[in-house]
Amino acid sequence: MFRHSVMRIRRLRSLMLVLGQLCVALSIAQPKFTISGYVKDSQSGETLIGANIYLENQPSTGTVTNTYGFYSLTLQEGSYRLVFSYLGYQSRLESVTLSQSTQVNVSLSSGLAMQEVVVTAKAEEEDDNVQSTSMGRVSLPVDQIKVLPALLGEVDVLKTIQLLPGVSSAGEGSAGFYVRGGGADQNLVLLDEAVVYNSGHFLGFFSVFNADAIKNTTLIKGGIPAVYGGRLSSVLDIQMKEGNNQQFQSEGGIGLISSRLTLEGPIVKDKSSFLISGRRTYGFDLAQPFINKTDFAGTNYFFYDVNAKVNYQFSQKDRVYLSGYFGRDVLNFEQRDRDFRFRLPYGNATATLRWNHLFNDKLFFNLSAIYNDYQFRAGFDQEEFKFSIYSGVRDFNMKLDFDYFPSNDHQIKTGIHGTHHKLTPNIISGSAGDVEFESTTTPKYANEFAVYIQDDWRISPRFRVNLGLRGTLFQQTGPYTSKHTGESFSGGEVVQTYSSLEPRLFMNTSLTEQSSIKAGVTATTQYLHLVSNSSSTLPADVWVPSTEVVKPQRGWQYAAGYFQNFRSNTYEASVEVYYKSLRDQIDYRESFVDNSVDQVEDEFVFGKGRAYGLELFVRKNKGALNGWLGYTLSRTERSFPDIENGRIYPATYDRTHDLSLVSNYNISPRITTGVVFIYATGRTYTSLERLYLIEGQLQTDYGPRNSQRLEPYHRMDVSVTLWPKKKEIRKFNSHWVFSLYNLYNRKNTFFLYTDYETDLTQGTASAKAYKVTIFPVLPSVTWNFKWR
C-alpha cells in the first residue's frame, strides 16, 4: 500500500514535470506582441526621458524611455497591468490586453504640488540605479537644481554637477569641472547633441546653459556607452525643452546678475510646439550713465544666451525637431583720452535638426544634422596701430542612430556618425599704418567617423550586461603643409589617419531586489584637444586636432561598484572604485610663453596620466528632507618625460578628499530650504622655493611642479524659496529665492601672487606672497515667475 502510494506520487510528479515542460513549450510558442509609444508630461506635452515602464507584478520585466521619450516592450499575448513612472510625477497604471502590437502613449502628471520639490540626483528611476547596467550615470532634472543655493542667484547646472562624487570644480566659483581625474577638455558637453566647445561665460564663472531652457542633464562619468565617443572622461548630455504643446506659457526671472524670459507654446496643439528662451546680464548696462561721463565712455561687458526650438509631429511615426543656441560674451573697453579701444567677443552657436522615425514598434530611428561654431576674437587699436587675434572651432556633423528592441532581454543601439572639423588656431593680424602683419598660421581640417553597436542584454533576471563596441577613424586633411617633411596637401587630401576600436563592457549582478554589484571597462579615444597654460581653461585657449605631431589621447577606465537601496528606494547608497589610465596626454613645455608662438603644437609635450579613487554616495529620494552626501577619495597624476624628467606629479585638479552635502527641506508647502556644504583638499600649486636677483630685481625660482597645496577648500551655502499660496497657483504665479553663498565667510584662496621690492643701495628686499579671496558671504535674491 505504502509502495503504491509512493509510486503514484512519483508518477504524478513525473506527469507534473511533463506538463510543466509542455507549458513552457506552449508559452514559448505563444505569440509575442509589442507595446510601444511615448511618455509625456500631461501639462506641457514634453517627452520624459528615462521614464520607467514595467509590469506591476513583475517589476524586473520592463524598459526605460529613450532620449526622445520612446519605449518599446515586447510581451506574450495576454492581459497586463503596466506601471509608468517618473520621479516627481504620479505613477500611472495602465491595463493592456495584448492580442496584437499596440501603441500606448501615456501622459504623466506632476504628482507633487510645485512646492514639494524633491531634490535628488536621480540615477534614472527608482531602483534603476540597482537594476540597470549603467555605472556612474546621474541625471539632474532642472526643476530640482533650481531650489539649490546658487552663486549670485544664477542657477547653474554645471555647478550642481560639481556636487556629485567624482566631479570636482575647476576653481572658486567656476562652472568648469573635472571628472575622475580627467582634464577639462576630456568632458564631452552636448546640448541637443551639438558639442559645446566652451561651456563658460565670464571666464567660466557662469555656464552657458540657461536653466529655463533645459529639460534634463545627464552626466556619465563612468561607463560611457558606445553611443558616445570623442572624449576620454565623461559625457554631459543636456537636452533642451521642446516647448509646451498644450498651451502657451511664459516664465522668467529677475536676478542680480541677469534676467531671463522664456516663451513656449503649441503651434498646432498636440503636434507642434516652439520654445524661445533668452538671458542677458545687465550690471554694466546699469552703470553706463556713470561710465559715459568718464574717459572710459563706451566701456561695457555683458553676456547673453538665446535658445530656440521647434518641433513638428508629422504622424505617429515621424517627428522633426529643430533647435539652436547662440551665446556671446562681449567686452568693450574704451579709453578715449588714450585713443585706445579693446574688443573681446566670444561665444558658441549650435544648430541641431533631428528626424525621429518609427520603422515599426521595435525599431526607432533618428537622423541628426548638427552644426556648431565656437569663435573667440580679441583686438585692440590705438591711432593707426591695430592688432587682433582669432581662434575657433566649426563642425558639421551627421548622425544616424537606431534603437532596436528585439525582445525584452535586448535593447540594441547602433549608428554611424561623421563630423567635419575646422579648427582655427590663434591667427594674429595687425597693422601699423599701411604695413600689415599676419601670422602664418592657417586653420586645420579633419574628418572624424564613428560606427558603434551596443546591446543591453538581460541574460537572466539577475544578470545583465551591456556590450558595446565603437570604431573610430580620424583623418587630418588638407590644405596643409607639413613643417617636418615640407610636403603640401591640397584641400580634402588626407594628411594623417588615426583609428581606434573602443570596447565597452558593463555588467550587473543583482544580489537581491535592492542590491547589486556592477563592474565595467571603458576604452575611449580623443582626437581633439584643448591645452591650457592657465590654472583653469580660458576662452582664449585653443582647440587643436590630432595631427602628424599630436597623437590622439587614449584612455581606459575600469570601475566596480556595490549598489544598495533601502526602505522602498527611499534611500540609496553606492560605493564605486575606479582606475583610469591615460596615454598621450598633452601639456605645454616648461617655460612656455604664448606671446611668440606660431604653431602651438610645437610647444606641446606628451606624457601619460592615471587616476584612481573611491566614491561613496548616499541619498534620500523622498520625504520633506531629501538630498545627498557624496565623498570621493582619489589621486590624479601626470608624468611627462620633458617635464622634470618624467617625475610623477599630482595634477592641478588632484583632490585627495572631496565631500559634498546637498540637502533640501520642505518646511511647509510655502517654504523650501536648501543647504550645500563642500569640503575639498586644497588645490596643488608649484612651490615658491628660492629668490634671486636679476638686473637688481627679485625673481622666483620655483620648486617641483604641484609639490605644495593650498589650505582645504570648504564652504556652506543656504537658500530659502518662498512659494505662492496654493490658491495663487493659477494663471500667474511667482516665487522668490533668497541665497547666501559662503554662509560663514570662509576665506578660500582664489589665487596667490607675489610682491617683491628691492633696494640694492640699502641692501634690503622684501618678498611677500599673498592669497586673494574673492567671494565673501554673498547674499542674492531672485524673483521667478510663470504665466500660462
Binding site: 583720452d337 612656455f592 606671446n595 606660431d598 629668490l691 574673492i774
Partner: protein
C-alpha cells in the same frame, strides 16, 4: 606690441567682486641654494666691459637684509670667458677693495651710488678689456667654484639699427607736455631677429620697461613704425595718464640691442612671469642658458640714440 589679452578681464573681475587678500607664507620643500649667474658681453657702440655677477639664491624669506646680500656673493670663483680662440680669466672685484674714487665710478656703472651703498657689491669683470666682443661670434663662460662647474654659451648677433626716431603728440587727449616715441625699423628678411631696449632720461641710469624684448615672428622683413614706451613712465609709481610717454624738453637716450634666441627666451620668460600673475596664471619657469645654475649669460650688439623730446 604684445597683447596680454586677459590682463583686462581679471581687473574687471576684481573691480566687480569684493576681493580681499592676506599675506601667505609659502611652504618650501627645503632643497639647498643654487648658483645664479648674471653676465653680459657687449659689442658695438660704447661697450661696457664684460662682467659676471655670481651669487647664490636666497631662501624665500619675507625680508632680506644687507648681511644676506653680502653673503650671497660667491667669492673666489674661477670665471673664464672664451671666444673659441683665447680664454680670459675675469678677476673678482669687490667695491670694498677699491679706493673711493674708483669705487664711485665702478658703482655708477652698475647704477649704484657707492656713498650710500650698504652692501659690498662683488663682480668678476674684464677691467683690462681683454675680451673684445664682436658681432657674429659665440662666447662661452666657464665658472669653477670648488668642485662645481657652471657653463653657458651666447652668441652676439649682427646688429640691426633703428632707422629713425621721432616724437609725436600723445594719442588721444591733446597734451603738449607729453610725447610718444615712434621708431622706424627695417627688419631684415629671412632671419629671426630678437631685440631688447633700455632708456635713459637726462643722463640718468638706463631703465627698462615691463616689456623690453621683441622678436620678428610676426613682422619678419617688414619696415614699419612702432611705439617705444618710456621705461620711466611704465613702472608702478607712474601716473597712468602718462603711461609709456615722454616729457617734452627731456633728453632721452635709447639703448637698442640685438640678442640671440636663448637670450631673448630668458627675458621673455622673465617678463611673462613677472606680468602674468593673477587668478588664472600658472607659474612660468625662467628659461635659462646656464648649465649648473640659474640666470643669464647674454651677448648684446648695441647702438645708442640720443634725442631731445620735441615735436
Amino acid at each position: 606690441m604684445k597683447l596680454n589679452l586677459l590682463t583686462l578681464l581679471p581687473i574687471l573681475l576684481l573691480l566687480m567682486l569684493a576681493s580681499c587678500e592676506q599675506e601667505y607664507i609659502p611652504i618650501k620643500s627645503g632643497e639647498g641654494p643654487k648658483y645664479v649667474v648674471e653676465g653680459y658681453l657687449e659689442a658695438g657702440e660704447a661697450p661696457f666691459p664684460t662682467y659676471v655677477i655670481l651669487t647664490r639664491t636666497f631662501d624665500f624669506f619675507s625680508e632680506i637684509g644687507p648681511d644676506q646680500f653680502n653673503s650671497s656673493f660667491v667669492r673666489n670663483a674661477v670665471v673664464i670667458v672664451s671666444d673659441g680662440e683665447a680664454d680670459v680669466v675675469l678677476p673678482e672685484v669687490c667695491l670694498s677693495q677699491l679706493d673711493p674714487a674708483i669705487r664711485k665710478l665702478v658703482a655708477a656703472q652698475f647704477g649704484l651710488n657707492s656713498d650710500t651703498l650698504s652692501i659690498d657689491f662683488c663682480v668678476y669683470v674684464d677691467l683690462l678689456g681683454l675680451v673684445q666682443p664682436e658681432e657674429g661670434r659665440t662666447y662661452t663662460l666657464r665658472i669653477e667654484v670648488d668642485t662645481d662647474v657652471i657653463t653657458a654659451t651666447t652668441t652676439i648677433p649682427p646688429h640691426v639699427r633703428i632707422d629713425s626716431l621721432r616724437f609725436l603728440p600723445p594719442p588721444g587727449k591733446p597734451n603738449d607736455s607729453l610725447a610718444q616715441l615712434k621708431c622706424f625699423l627695417a627688419d631684415p628678411p629671412g632671419v629671426r631677429n630678437f631685440y631688447r631696449y633700455f632708456g635713459s632720461t637726462n643722463g640718468g641710469p638706463y631703465e627698462k620697461s615691463f616689456s623690453t624684448v621683441e622678436e620678428d615672428l610676426f613682422f619678419d622683413g617688414k619696415s614699419f613704425d612702432f611705439q617705444l614706451f618710456n621705461p620711466a613712465t611704465t613702472n608702478g609709481n607712474a601716473d597712468p595718464d602718462q603711461f609709456g610717454l615722454y616729457f617734452v624738453g627731456d633728453t632721452v637716450t635709447i639703448k637698442w640691442c640685438s640678442i640671440d634666441e636663448a637670450h631673448f627666451d630668458f627675458w621673455n620668460t622673465l617678463e611673462f612671469s613677472n606680468a602674468n600673475q593673477g587668478p588664472f596664471a600658472s607659474y612660468t619657469r625662467l628659461q635659462s642658458n646656464i648649465n649648473g645654475g640659474l640666470g643669464i649669460w647674454g651677448g648684446y650688439s648695441i647702438s645708442y640714440y640720443t634725442r631731445v623730446v620735441a615735436y
